[in-house]
């Protein structure tokens, strides 16, 4: 668990221009390990753009990105993945026909002992065991490890997708999870399950950035809230020190920016 005071991910003075449109204007943003930062804003406020910059899908026009205090440059999502940043997508995250264990181990399979290992045979039992251990570690109970992903409910799918990303960013140095509307299309119970999981992941030292339109969700799970408004940062406050009214004010622009000169 990294408890150092260096942010897991920090963006400073990031600009993003699409032609003449300023999608992001001098954005400073950071997230510490163990923190859940909710990124709020109306449509077109720049949330998705900021997320794309963090995940390496877009390169900012100006500004710097540092990961654990080291300056980095992302040319592609693969670069950010190597730096320990994982994006959790709303859909397309799981292979339907494969079981949970296979989905969790894809890309980091456990091979059997030689000679079968030389032929690329995987040790399915060990994979199931490790997957179970990883889900247990996150306090997640979904279904049997041998259950195909297509036979999971929406909530279970999302939980497995989250866990999959979480296991990829945790290690000796915990990474960053980028979550885009993780509870969209989920029912009440399932939303609660996913919320609990996000809180647990953060408690284990993973830094979480949560992009959402859902104010109650943000209030429930985040430790800090950042509000964007037309490409600018309007607010950056601990969740405990704000309320829905204030946030709505910043989101709509009715309330002046905290950083207004």
């Amino acid at each position: 668990m990294s408890t150092d005071a260096v942010p897991a991910l920090e963006l400073s003075r990031v600009d993003m221009h699409y032609g003449y449109v300023r999608a992001l204007d001098q954005i400073d943003f950071h997230v510490m390990n163990g923190e859940v930062v909710a990124l709020l804003g109306d449509n077109g406020a720049g949330k998705s753009t900021l997320l794309k910059v963090m995940s390496g899908a877009h390169r900012p026009t100006a500004g710097t990105i540092t990961v654990h205090g080291r300056e980095v440059e992302f040319h592609s999502p693969t670069d950010s993945t190597h730096a320990g940043i994982q994006m959790v997508y709303q859909d397309l995250a799981l292979v339907d026909a494969q079981d949970i264990a296979t989905n969790l181990t894809l890309g980091r399979e456990i091979l059997r002992k030689p000679p079968l290992g030389w032929l690329g045979f995987v040790d399915k039992k060990a994979q199931r065991k490790r997957s179970q251990a990883e889900l247990d570690q996150l306090g997640v109970r979904t279904a049997a490890m041998t259950r195909p992903a297509e036979m999971l409910s929406g909530g279970q799918r999302q939980v497995v997708a989250l866990a999959r990303s979480a296991t990829r960013v945790s290690g000796e140095r915990n990474g960053v999870l980028l979550l885009d509307e993780p509870t969209a299309a989920l029912g009440y119970e399932q939303t609660k399950q996913v919320e609990a999981l996000i809180v647990r992941m953060a408690r284990q030292g993973i830094a979480c950035v949560l992009v959402t339109h859902n104010l109650p969700l943000a209030m429930e799970v985040s430790t800090r809230i950042v509000v964007l408004n037309r490409g600018r940062k309007y607010a950056d406050v601990p969740t405990a020190k704000t309320d829905t009214d204030q946030l709505v004010g910043w989101i709509t622009g009715a309330r002046p920016s905290m950083f207004a000169a």
């Binding site: 668990m1 894809l106 690329g120 109970r141 647990r200 408690r203 030292g205």
Partner: protein, 358 residues
Amino acid sequence: MIVPANPQGAVSLAPDDTAGAAPDEHTKDSFGIRALIFTRDRGLIVLWVVLILVFSIWASPFFAKWSNAVLIANAAALTATFAAGVGVGVMSGSLDISIPGTAALSGVVCGWLLTHHNPVAVALVVALVIGPVVGVINGLVTLRGFNPIIVTIGTLSVTTGLAAVVAGGYTIPGLTQLTFMGTRHYAGIPAPVWIVAVLFIVLTLFLTQTRDGIRLMSVGGNTEAVRRSGINSSRYRVIGFVISGFCAALGGLISTAVITSASPTADPGIIFTALTAVALAGVALSGGRGSLPRVLVGALILATISNALTIKGIQPYWGTVVTGLLLLASLGLEKGIEASVERRLMSAAQASVHSGKK
């Protein structure tokens, strides 16, 4: 990498996770769900067994005999080889239409090499390599963003044309050097059946037990998910084509060996028969799912039906009709089972959400 243990977190998490959960329920599905999944996955075998029982009575006493079983297996072998190619292609996300062309080209090249006094081993290896080569070309072109069906229609044309060029437009006869893999029997079983048995065992193990095979299936199911796992998904799409090309070349060699001559004409019927077996096996054309043993059973069902009708002296055209009806009926059955599996799982999933929350 496993998350480093966090005793404090684990303790604080324990109450809401493990409350009231039997440790076994944690890792195993209930019997009902497993039974339904079994029916869904193995229904075709049940159908085949039923067919065999019905035919044993209807076409007795000639049907239910060991010698007839060997006949059926032998008749199914060629279809099964091509069906393996089509099946692996479809599972990896691309329907390979070029199979008949590749088969013709490989047979003809083998025939040409043999008639020009080359050793049998050389002829076989060269002819077999043609399959993967065509596969790599199919794969690399498809990766440029073209539809695999169109691309392989193109290579079908090219390979068919090349086969005719190599053979000078005529069938190459008298290839008796290949009878060891054609009409010869080993331990009472014809050579093509042995070849198909080995092919299916190897490919099934590959697809279900090895890292590359599982990734190949996953790419067919959801390329994005695999790519996002940091895996080079393109490679696996090419591997899919390489395997289907190999099966095509192998099938071309088997048919050349059986009829001891190499015909430069590609028979597009191969694709449709193979596709019927693949569809009977419930391999989704959208890719990512399906099992090769079931494809084998699909090919065996086709051979079983035509065999029984032949014994009863019924015109073989009826075999085609019955096969078609069977395919349509199996679709209906599959849908019914799928729906009931879903219902069962839906209630199970809801139960587990609630028990998870306590």
